[in-house]
Subunit: 272 residues, 2 copies
């Protein structure tokens, strides 16, 4: 079993509840990565909705920072229709609410087969150089890697022109892109994409603000089951104002398809 | 009292419930406009959270089409913190669930005052010509106006180069923009912005698909209390594929600020 599948596994322990064990390997800074937490919730929802295997949309609000250890996913199905189900799911640790999720589940293959075949994609993949010309997250200083064991979970190769922030020279363009794959070679699927959309550093790094940017809300649309192989991921903001910023994430698969789109609203770090 | 305020008014009728009356004036096609419904829910949340007057983020999934008449908003506050509250709110009509909303409320002015003053906005307003050169929605044929009384609620002036769909010549660019104000002159505020982000025709009109595009999920971020005056609104898609499309909406106020960003995932109409 892959590291990722082991770490998002849940066990049904009630009619609508699932026990999880948040893995220490996904810690980054002072908490557990929000994308990994979303995948844990998604793993419980998948088990709970056996005829609708894929997260289509997930909207999450984060209530408090998670810690490694036991957790529980509580599911409240609001509607279970022919092709789509809507559910509220929460992640709890003891008496502490960690996140609340509004989810739509379905079967991506069936939805695609039932829909109009028209395609019109004007979004373009990030202009990433070949991987051998990119800069690996594993080159980060020991000090940073000690506080971010999550960096061991995947290979992340940054666009060399978008990592000035790592050496004190942010570009102030608000754009960071990278190649991504899970370190043990586990291929991407709709659940792992939920981690991917929150894996890169916040775009505020690129404005010289390396601190923690607390997410207020994060929504992900999963549009295709991804092809095997490396993913290309880009984070960008078009709107940083009023102490908050929007961060858009796009994930492209090895077949050149836009497989997931994420958007979050986060607060700016307090200290530059 | 303005038409909009009258139509979104709610009356507390239980500890966590509010009675609403969905107004026939917001019908469009076979249902009641989803943005108006979101504003009705937001109106109940504002009453329920008196120290946090502004919707900051609203994520909604639509379960079934609403009809004019009585409805109830049921609120479940999940967390009420120092500056932000998170709640789930649902709109019901009898035994029918209409929509489920995951909301974050706060005080925009206080959030702005507490945040970093840094601004970086690369998003640009739609390139709308002066209003006298734009095409009014009121020019729509009687047949269309009869099925869309909503069109009487606001003045909407379309970019003249983005209304080819109205005369059978869609541009296939996936972009529609317009000037907007409420017909009775009621000035915009964070609640009315929730209607604005779902007021324009779906971008699929611009691909020659004038049918109803059912929303799977809609998220809105309200970023500023808008200045008085006309708003500029743009709908665009960058990703129409697999029987679904993403539609991004931006709303700019008369002071030139991006005041709200919406994104929805919707299914393509079945029939072109």
């Amino acid at each position: 079993m892959s590291e990722f599948d082991r770490d998002i596994a849940v066990n049904k322990n009630g009619v609508d509840t699932y026990a999880a064990e948040l893995a220490p390997g996904w810690v980054v800074g002072g908490g557990v990565n929000g994308g990994y937490l979303l995948a844990v919730v998604a793993s419980a929802l998948r088990q709970h909705l056996p005829t609708k295997p894929d997260p289509i949309t997930m909207s999450a609000t984060y209530a408090s920072a998670s810690t490694p250890g036991p957790a529980e996913v509580r599911i409240d199905v609001r509607r279970d229709g022919r092709s789509l189900a809507t559910a509220i799911a929460e992640l709890w640790q003891g008496d502490d609410l960690r996140l609340t999720v509004l989810a739509t589940y379905g079967d991506l293959a069936a939805l695609h087969a039932a829909g109009e075949p028209l395609e019109h994609v004007t979004a373009v993949p990030p202009d990433l150089p070949p991987r051998e010309q990119c800069l690996a997250a594993s080159l980060a200083p020991d000090r940073m890697r000690r506080t971010a064991p999550m960096l061991e979970r995947f290979d992340m190769l940054f666009h060399p022109e978008q990592v000035g922030w790592a050496v004190g020279a942010p570009t102030e363009q608000g754009r960071i892109s990278a190649w991504y794959r899970l370190a043990d070679g586990r291929e991407p699927d709709p659940l792992s994409l939920l981690q991917v959309i929150d894996a890169l550093p916040p775009v505020t790094f690129d404005f010289g603000m390396p601190g923690w940017a607390p997410t207020l809300e994060l929504t992900c649309h999963v549009r295709h089951r991804p092809a095997p192989g490396w993913l290309q991921v880009v984070h960008a903001t078009r709107h940083l104002a009023g102490g908050m910023f929007e961060e858009d994430c796009e994930v492209w698969d090895s077949a050149g398809r836009l497989v997931a789109q994420g958007r979050q609203l986060a607060r700016l770090p307090r200290v530059r």
